[in-house]
């Protein structure tokens, strides 16, 4: 996961459900297909919420890592 280049970072620090998902949905619209979005969140729900969101919207979930209580997740935009 660390080898992937991130194009855009979205700060969801301190935000609770459903705000991170809503922000991701809004943010991804501004990206180009193939670009990678990094999401940084503190709500643990992001671990399963983001893969679920990707499954429904068709974008690619590249993984999530916990770093000092923060969750760093990567998503690749696969379609417009």
């Amino acid at each position: 996961m660390n080898t992937v280049n991130k194009d855009v970072t979205l700060d969801c620090y301190g935000l609770l459900c459903p705000m991170p998902i809503i922000k991701v949905a809004q943010k991804i619209k501004g990206l180009k297909v193939g670009q990678v979005l990094e999401v940084i969140a503190t709500d643990e729900g992001i671990r399963t919420d983001l893969p679920a969101w990707c499954k429904m919207t068709g974008h690619e979930f590249l993984g999530v890592q916990e770093v000092n209580g923060e969750f760093h997740a990567l998503i690749k935009k696969t379609k417009e």
């Binding site: 301190g14 935000l15 609770l16 459900c17 459903p18 705000m19 998902i21 809503i22 991701v24 949905a25 809004q26 679920a52 969101w53 429904m56 919207t57």
Partner: protein
Amino acid sequence: MPKEKMNIVVFSGDMDKVLAAFIIATTAASMGMEVNMFFTFWGLNVLRKKKFTSGKNVLQKMMNAMNRGGSARLPLSKFNMLGLGPALMKTMMKRSKMPSLPELIQTAKDLGVKFTACTTTFSFMGFAKDDFIDGVDAYAGAATFLGEVMDGRVSYFI
């Protein structure tokens, strides 16, 4: 592929329950689903403007003065304590950086969630369209809602 569709009946006018409805609605809309919210009975209070009274006859006016509308001043289903509960809850939500109900309603609108107000409740409570916020997309009855339910995948009653 056609869009997945979710339908939510908002029957309750309690802040906590309505919050749950809007959290589900905004998340579903963010996931690309088409979302319809059908507001009926106490749920209509969510779409009402903050206004002292409305209604066409004495009974309706009395009822609507007690049954206050406006998304920013809904009671809690538990620990309402004459309005102290909701005030404390709002403070706690703010500290946790949670959006308030009026903010979530705006987010739902921005995400394209459709609001339908029940015409039956509307009429027997004596409301006028002027009593409601601009975000109401349609005024309709149960058959319209059931029509949406039939080609939807998920339906909730809150």
